[in-house]
Structure formats: structure tokens, C-alpha cells
Amino acid sequence: MSDRIRQRLGQTLLVLVLGMGALAVALPFIYMISTSLKGQVYVFEFPPRFIPSHPTLNNFVSAWQSNNFGRYFLNSLLVALVTTVLELLLSSTVAYAFARFEFPGKSVLYYTLLATLMVPGMMLIIPQFILASRLKLLNSLTGLILVYTAGGTAFNTFLLRGFFEQLPRELEEAALIDGGNYLTVFFRILLPLSTPALATVAIFTFLGAWDEYVWALTTINEPLKRTLPIAIANFHGTHASDWGLVFAGSLIAIVPVLIVFVLLQKYFIKGLTAGAVKG
């Protein structure tokens, strides 16, 4: 009896502590949302209010209509989608070769791939910039897509190879004996069996491309080719005091991410802990 009461008390205390922590973590977001709903006059009112006294959607309307956010949104969406499809295709074919074949040069190539996992992506930005300018890929969404895809190849190949190697080979071998070729085996048997791993790759690739800032900042100058992160950062620069507008734009950019996250949490956690926890 007293044990149960103690347990109840313990749980209540836990919920209280975690709740306060969660509130502290969420506070910046709550304040961002409330600021985005305030007219310019109220952004700097004192004391600051969490619930706007005169809430308005004007900031969202003006971000979307008069500040080209629709265009930036489409650019980001296009880049992130194409990058995701390309990444899925390229890293899974590479992973398939490593998982199912023996060939000269295999270990050299694989270790090169693994070694680059330790390289901070940004250290390559100067030579990548030079390469992009030679290939006329500055100011180009294609340039973004290629660099984003290449940047993920090593990690995703590593992840997918591990997954492929856990799958039984019998089905593939049977299909080959029945006269199927490697391409049909890959697309018809291996990939359908790998949906969970592919989902993880897809989610992280999409979000990575959606949020990428530094490469886009460095290579995109033309206003019409901007992606959302660039637009938001610029917005903040040019509309320095118009915080309501800045945060309306920010929310337009992060809401899709939050939706994807909340719906697909399972795959997120899987991808995160894939390399981390081994028994």
C-alpha cells in the first residue's frame, strides 16, 4: 500500500520535473510562434507577451506573397526531393556492389569511403567551389543537388551495406538461377526488402538538403535561385527589425520538417541509433 503511494509520488515528481524541462526547451519555439503572430508595433512591447494581444496572420501572408517565399519554398522542395531520389538510387547501388560482390579494388574503395566519414564536410568547400565554378555549377540548383548527394554517399552506403548484408541471399540466388539479371534482383527483391533502411536514408537526406545553408550561401547569388535557409538568413539581414516577418518565414520552413518528424519518428530513432548502440 505505502509502496504504491510512494511509486505514485515518484511518478508525479518525475512528470513534474520532465514537464518543467520540456517547457524550458519549448519556450523559444513558443515565443517564436507568438512573435510571428504579432504586428510590427507589438514585437518589442514590454513586458514581452507569449499570447499576442492583437494576433494577426499578416506576417505569413506578406512573407508568402510579397517576399517570394513561395518561390524559395519550391526551390527547396525541388532540391530536397531530387537529392533524396538520387541519393537513394546511388548509395543503394554502391552498397549492393559492396554487399554482394567480390571484385578487385573492393577494400581500397570501401576504406576510402569510410575514411571520408571523418572529414568535416565544410573543409572541402573551397575546392568544391572551384570545381563548381569550372563546371558552371555556381548559381545553380543542380550544383546544390550534386554536392548534397555526394556528401551523403559515404554514410548512406555504409548504412545500407550493413542492412543488405543482414538479408538472406537465398531469394536473390533463386531469382538469378531462374534467369533474372542483377538489375531485376536489385530492384525487385533487394530494394523492396529494405524499405525500413531506405526510409531512414530518405528522411535524413531530405532534411539535410532542406536545411543546408553553407554551400547554398556560398554558391547561390541569384535571388530567384535561393533556397529557404538562405532566404530566411537574408530576410533577417534586410528586415533586421521585422522579427514577425522573419519568424513567419522560419515557421513556413520548419513546419514541414516537424510534420515529417512527428509522423516518422520511428525511422528517425532507428537511423540515429544505428551506429551508436551495439550490444
Binding site: A26, P48, M122, L124, E173, T273
Partner: protein, 313 residues
């Protein structure tokens, strides 16, 4: 595992050996080709190219001469006070944010692991900052730390909690700017730490705790004697990853202070980026990036060497 792999592929090899030998040897390369082409041209080539550039006084305008200067760009870094300042800042940022994230992340994980009510909801909220773009949260923190009284941080610290006597102009001075930058770094990372630690905690067999409870071990003893030793590999993994991440801090600093005031909040990557794309000194920028990579390699290997120990249970 490995031997069965070779055996089964060997078996397949014998089946198709007759007449179709060439195809078996070409197939893997065809699968590799597109992905590897992209990887080699945008990762491996730039990696080598960066080293070449670092040995030149590189002229970004095509056609103009770039004199070879040997290791001059590297020695220049060692004699550059801003480089040392950026290095010190990077180390300081890494130490503070890694410690803060791990401590808070582990605490939250231990609590979430025990709680029975609303576990998923808590996990989701703590994880939200992780999935939000660095650009957005950097600008958001700049706003929270703004120095007008309406800045939320000033308001909370002065008017609500009475922890400070007066409003602080956070971003006009290097020391207080670091408070903003580092609290962002910690706030954004707690959720990631929590998820990883939570997965590790859930892998600990509950019998161990039951036995310890029968033996009369207190909560603290269970934490120190069972939980922490058993999740040690995860702690090492998280530490290594976070340190690598800390050395790569860039967007928050670039957007919140831009390395200022007076380059006092410059970190290695912001200094490298500014050298490359503000002053167009590609040679020096490339040398700085190689120094950073060497540092990250060195520190990661040292950590893994000294901390990694196999655990069996």
C-alpha cells in the same frame, strides 16, 4: 559470417562460370559507377585539391598565376594570433557544450526511461530543437538574447527571476556573446544525447537492477555501479561524435556574431570561411581547413584509444 559469404558467392560463381564469366566481373563496377563517380569528384578530388591549394598563394581568378609557397600557409597560421584565438574559442566552445549536452541529455534520458506517463510526448518535445534548422534557431536565439528590455532572456533573468540586477547587452561583448552561442549549442543537442542514451539504457538487462535491489543497493549506487559502466561504450561514442561536432560549429556563430566583435568570437571554421570567401585567400583557407581536419582526426583517435574498452554482460 565472412566465411559463409565467400562460400555462397563462390557457389554462385561456379553456377555461372560456364560462358558468363565476363559479366560477373563487370557487374559490380556498373553498380558502383554512378555513385562512385559523384563521390570521387565531389569528395575525394576536393580533398586532394584542398591540399594542393594550401601549398599555393592561390589566385581565385582563372588564368592568373598562383605562386607555389610550400608550407608557408601553415607556418603563417602558427604565427597568426587570430588563428590561436579561434582555436582557443573552438576548444572552449567544444568543452562547454559537450559537457552541458551530455550531462543534461543523460539526465533527461534517465528520467524519461523511468517515467510511465507521456514518455513519447516528452521525447518528442526534447527532440524538437534537434530537427530544427540551424539557421532558424540561430536567428531565434539572436532575437531571444537581444538587448532591448523586451529581449526574452533579459526579461526573464531581470524582471521575472531577479537573477541579474540589470539588462545585459549580450551580443556587444565577446564573453556574453558566448553565453548566447553556447546555450544554443547545448539546447539544440540535448535531444540527440537523450535519444542515444535512452537506447543504451533500454539495452541494460533489468535483472541486474533487480539483483542490486535485493542486495540493498541505493539509487545512486545503481547508477554509478551498474548503469554508467554498462553504457560506457555509448558514452564514448557520444563524446567522440559531440567533440567532432563541436569543432565544426559554424552557422550559429556566423549568424549570431559573425565572429565579432573584433573577431573575438571567431572559431576555426568561421575563420577559415572568412579567409576563403570574404578575403578570397583560398590558399590560407585551405591550409586552415587541413589543420582543422588534422586536429579532429588526432583528437578522435586519442579519445577512442584511451576510452574504448570492451564491455561484456
Amino acid at each position: 559470417m565472412n566465411s559463409t559469404n565467400t562460400r555462397s558467392s563462390g557457389r554462385r560463381g561456379t553456377i555461372r562460370r560456364r560462358g558468363r564469366r565476363r559479366r560477373v566481373s563487370l557487374t559490380p563496377y556498373l553498380f558502383l559507377l554512378p555513385g562512385m563517380l559523384l563521390f570521387l569528384s565531389w569528395t575525394v578530388y576536393p580533398l586532394l585539391k584542398a591540399f594542393q591549394i594550401s601549398l599555393y598563394d592561390w589566385n581565385p581568378i582563372p588564368g592568373l598565376a598562383s605562386p607555389f609557397v610550400g608550407i608557408h600557409n601553415y607556418t603563417r597560421a602558427f604565427n597568426d594570433p587570430i588563428f590561436w584565438l579561434a582555436l582557443r574559442n573552438t576548444l572552449m566552445y567544444t568543452v562547454v557544450t559537450v559537457a552541458g549536452q551530455m550531462l543534461l541529455g543523460l539526465t533527461v534520458a534517465l528520467l524519461v526511461d523511468r517515467v510511465t506517463f507521456g514518455r513519447t510526448a516528452f521525447r518528442t518535445v526534447y527532440y524538437l530543437p534537434v530537427v530544427t534548422s540551424w539557421v532558424v534557431v540561430s536567428i531565434l536565439f539572436k532575437y531571444l538574447f537581444n538587448s532591448s528590455p523586451a529581449g526574452l532572456v533579459n526579461y526573464l533573468l531581470v524582471d521575472v527571476l531577479h537573477l541579474l540586477p540589470d539588462y545585459v547587452r549580450w551580443l556587444s561583448n565577446a564573453n556574453t556573446s558566448w553565453v548566447a552561442i553556447m546555450s544554443l549549442g547545448i539546447w539544440k543537442g540535448i535531444g540527440w544525447n537523450m535519444v542515444i542514451f535512452l537506447a543504451a539504457l533500454q539495452g541494460i538487462p533489468t535483472e541486474l537492477y533487480e539483483v542490486a535491489a535485493i542486495d540493498g543497493a541505493s539509487g545512486w549506487q545503481r547508477l554509478w555501479r551498474i548503469t554508467l559502466p554498462l553504457i560506457r561504450p555509448t558514452i564514448v561514442f557520444v563524446l567522440v561524435m559531440l567533440v567532432i561536432g563541436g569543432f565544426q560549429a559554424f552557422i550559429s556563430i556566423y549568424l549570431i556574431t559573425g565572429g565579432g566583435p573584433m573577431q573575438r568570437t571567431e572559431v576555426l571554421l568561421s575563420y577559415m570561411y572568412n579567409q576563403g570567401f570574404k578575403y578570397l585567400d583560398f590558399g590560407y583557407g585551405a591550409a586552415l581547413s587541413y589543420l582543422l581536419a588534422a586536429l579532429i582526426f588526432g583528437i578522435s583517435f586519442t579519445q577512442m584509444h584511451f576510452l574504448q574498452r570492451r564491455i561484456e554482460y
